[in-house]
Symmetry: D2
Subunit: 353 residues, 4 copies
């Protein structure tokens, strides 16, 4: 069974495992107060060219999102996000569990825009309505596309105009940064938002994300908030050690290598499928691809490949999600394309019309 199920289906990149083995017997203080977390934080500050910010080693993406939001908002304030945004769509109401509304907007091509933010404000009136205060987006988006520098800048400016905080979920940030069309460096991105995180889990780590907070108010007693939200890992250094391994050599680190590999494999996959005239329901530029096939082809593919059906069948076609990870092999991509070609061919033979 070849797996395109997710970018978290395997363990960690060998260099990450090596670092964990190498430091395994060290004794350090717990809860992220250790030299590895400290050092990883410094590496990230250097990478983004900012010293005046705080870096927290977080256990996962959902804890990042929820803790940032709970720490940043007053009780009567709300979040503006897309209905497809991870914090709205895939965290079981964890944000609402902390008492805050997400004003859920339908995206435009899967993206947030300044106009959508304005539209969310139409729900605001006075003390009878929550006050929109934080814009949440993912880079890349949940359907694999990448915000351009112009797009992110426009959101950033709208946030400033509206006195809103701007937070970027970077679960797959590496793949955006190394995407072919990307024109927004991590240093620029860091300057355009108030906080963002660099995802490790889907980029070669066992787990862990590095949260960067530039806005001092959002960082107030932040470690209290991590603990209150259950996110403080006892052996916190594990995250620091992994980011040290991922980010060693900065722009030439395996963090970027892994992301570029994920993208390359996905591009190869899309190119192979496009050559077969397969359609896609999103214009992904990163490591997730969303082709659709006749449902019976999907059912056949599922015998050899492990992936998600992404949405219900429509007009006989079923969209699926194919994700490449740090360990995806070229041969696996080729096998998928080959098998798809066979199945489509066979189908055409049966239904020539």
């Amino acid at each position: 069974m070849i797996c395109f199920r997710s970018d978290y289906s395997q363990g960690a990149h060998p260099k990450v495992m090596e670092a964990l083995m190498k430091t395994n017997l060290e004794h350090t203080d717990g809860y992220g107060l250790d030299p590895h977390c400290e050092h990883a934080g410094e590496m990230i500050k250097e990478l983004i060219g900012l010293s005046d910010c705080e870096v927290h080693m977080m256990i996962g993406g959902t804890p990042c999102n929820i803790t940032v939001i709970a720490a940043s908002l007053k009780p009567y304030e709300s979040v503006v996000a897309l209905r497809t945004g991870h914090a709205y769509f895939h965290e079981t109401g964890g944000v609402e569990a902390t008492g805050h509304r997400i004003v859920a907007m339908d995206g435009i091509n899967g993206k947030m825009t300044p106009e959508l933010i304005d539209r969310a404000w139409e729900e605001y009136e006075d003390e009878h309505t929550p006050l929109p205060r934080l814009v949440y987006i993912s880079q890349p988006t949940e359907i694999g596309s990448v915000y351009s520098r112009t797009e992110i800048t426009a959101i950033s400016e709208k946030c400033r105009e509206r006195n809103m905080l701007f937070y970027i979920d970077g679960a797959r940030l590496g793949t955006a940064l190394t995407s072919r069309g990307n024109d927004l460096g991590i240093d620029e991105l860091a300057r355009l938002c108030d906080a963002f995180y660099i995802g490790g889990t889907k980029n070669g780590a066992l787990f862990g994300e590095a949260l960067v907070i530039r806005n001092k108010e959002m960082n107030d007693h932040f470690r209290f908030m991590i603990k209150r939200q259950s996110g403080l890992l006892a052996k916190g250094r594990l995250i620091g050690v992994q980011f040290e391994a991922l980010l060693e050599h900065g722009k030439d680190s395996i963090f970027f290598e892994i992301a570029a590999h994920e993208n390359r494999m996905a591009e190869k996959l899309r190119a192979g499928l496009e050559a077969l005239n397969v359609g896609f329901f999103s214009d992904s530029q990163t490591n997730q691809s969303f082709p659709f096939f006749p449902t019976e082809v999907v059912k056949e593919l599922e015998k050899d490949f492990f992936f998600y059906e992404w949405a219900p069948e429509k007009d006989g076609m079923t969209p699926i999600r194919l994700v490449t990870g740090w360990g995806t092999k070229e041969s696996e991509v080729e096998a998928f394309v080959k098998r798809t070609a066979e199945l489509l061919e066979k189908k055409k033979a049966c239904n020539p019309g």
Copy 2:
């Protein structure tokens, strides 16, 4: 200044005040554990022809909505409501403050439908998404229209099919029940939902709503929930006394008289404006009317009348909300229509084209 601002701009109907005066010196136990609340509850059970339900005297509509929802849902469950629904639109995120999402849907002509409920379920997947569990609607709707028996029955059946609770916000229920086109009696309505409330505040009381819960699970330890949500009034009998006054003589009580009066005044108002070719942005059948006028006419009207501008100006027209209350006089309605006629005439004279 003549007031069409709201149906809560005056005090209580004289009979309600009289009942409060008459019982003022009585000593009773507090927090709703008194003979008046008990009696009012019995009157309501008789009115709806149900004995197997619980009636709670609540301090206001928002406490009703939020307490019912917080009491009914498990932490991972969500509410399905319209974006225009009061619990979503005008309660400052009070539902989310109790940890629950409202899945906010765009209404079809201001109404919830079975199709919209199905659409809300499209956001549901598995343990990564909240589980939709309660449908919230208002009868009449926030724009004054009334759900028909067929419409409410369809929602009720969809709820049963989906294993969802069905709760009806009846802040202005009296005006729905006495609306000309209404075909759904309160006894039927009570049987089609799991819980609903009969609004007093906007129907002649100083304050207070009578919450009817038929579903035993929703009623579990409900008084604990009222207190936890800050809604238990020390002199709780005040609500019971008011509902006794409102509901004496059942179907011939002042509760229905007041509601019918509110509707009658609103109909007269709408008829008067329609005769002037004024447009409306909602097809209200109850005591709220939503005409729109050239903005300069609105500004002139505001010198003599007190009302809300309902939405921003568009194409030179501004929609306003006119609400009639228990104390609205026929002469006040006539004054409004007359003044509008003058202003529109004058405007036509200036801009004959």
Copy 3:
């Protein structure tokens, strides 16, 4: 049945009812944005001699406490209060419902002290523990005693030293201010804390409390918080009208007259019982009295009088709570003392030993 059950067992003082009747037909804006609330707020500012504060008309004591706490604290901050404090003991965990701990301390003679605050801080360590941030006390205490100027000043200074907010629950503040031994004026009290409320419900109103917030941070978007916590009354002016009636003529107003009457009746009651050698389990100086009697005497008294048993029987004695209200009559007090005398006499006759 003569009632010493509570100071909320009757309706409102006749002057309050008169004011409600007199203003009943006025049209005003809702939700506390009306001239009566405005005026009542001004009267209170004048009474306490402070202009630089905000006054909010609140629907009840529990909404006051919970809204103030939820509005003032960051998510990781906690309240320090007595186990007997109303916000801990009698509000069904409403504070915790907003996400905050109450560090519950055993009082010293029913009172908070600077030493107890220090002791609460012993539970604080670092990001693994909540940060104590607000001290909650009631004046008078829940057992009827009154904090002296020295005592309140000491708490106030400890709060300043510890960077804590100081909030005083004044549900029965009138009785403290008019208590025989009281040496702390309302103007001084206002200056020693960050926020407090003047209770109406137990001091002659139908309902309503006037919340005074001096600390600007605690007042941030406070009306949003009132609404979010379900406490914004549609016909909000009702509270303003009542406080206007209660506070007219300032220090010579019926607010103080009522409180003084409640105290006088309670003193007479205690003096009568003391003359019978009845013991008390608290040294009350206000309108609540806590005598204990042989349990069979309590059972006999319950045939003619309505009151709470305050704690379980111990050594054959049962403590009860007797509360006087604005409407308590001298003859009712006398009747209680007389009947008690008879019952104790009779008991002595039966058990001469």
Copy 4:
């Protein structure tokens, strides 16, 4: 620097690391839906001899505690725990963040008893007070002592009598089970409570705890609750893999070996210090030891050893906490005892009196 700081200062036991390495390249489904988690769950069911229960692989102890409590209680229900209990004392109010009170009791020798549970109920009255519903204890206690079978049985029976849930925090359960005086097997413990967890983090894992829920109501939609509380790990199998390694060979597994080693090292440490007439402020039977020393001795020890000062100095003595872990070496224990002996000797020489 020799470390007695905590049992989470090193990485994982070599066999655990080996298992992680060995499975690193496998592809599995995420979020705990994989064969390793499944298998580890089966191993645990076998270990405790129960098939009718659910096992969840949790990311840490705090997420376990908070998720179980949030999933088990209705909004108006509360927890009874010791002030020293981890969920009260060291989780930054995470339980209150989910809306529930912890009724915090002073322990008797650091332990919960049926009498303390009864005392907590004295705070309960009716709808004005939270309803106590779940008893939380840690085995071993936070000060290292172990509940006997008799003690746990008594709590269990009290819970049944009071209709309360009984939950045991087993962060260091291994050390209780292998403690010299322990008379309560894990199979018996499992039957005496409704839910408990087997701690991995402090018993040789990198992280992860195995939560066992016997009570079906507590398990309702539990995975939704894990996600909502941010505790669902993407590469969830990592916890399963670690528990497979820890528990292979059941009662002869390294899980018990590690715990027994931790205890043995701690006993040696205590024996060595006792021989020097050092006093202890708790009668620990597991891997935490709490000796006290003259403060200047503590300061000298801190130059060579890394540990916590446990409480403020009193009468010149400072209590410290010494914790042994899976990697603690006999020579490290000996070094500590030796250095202590030297320092105490030196101090005696200086202050012969």
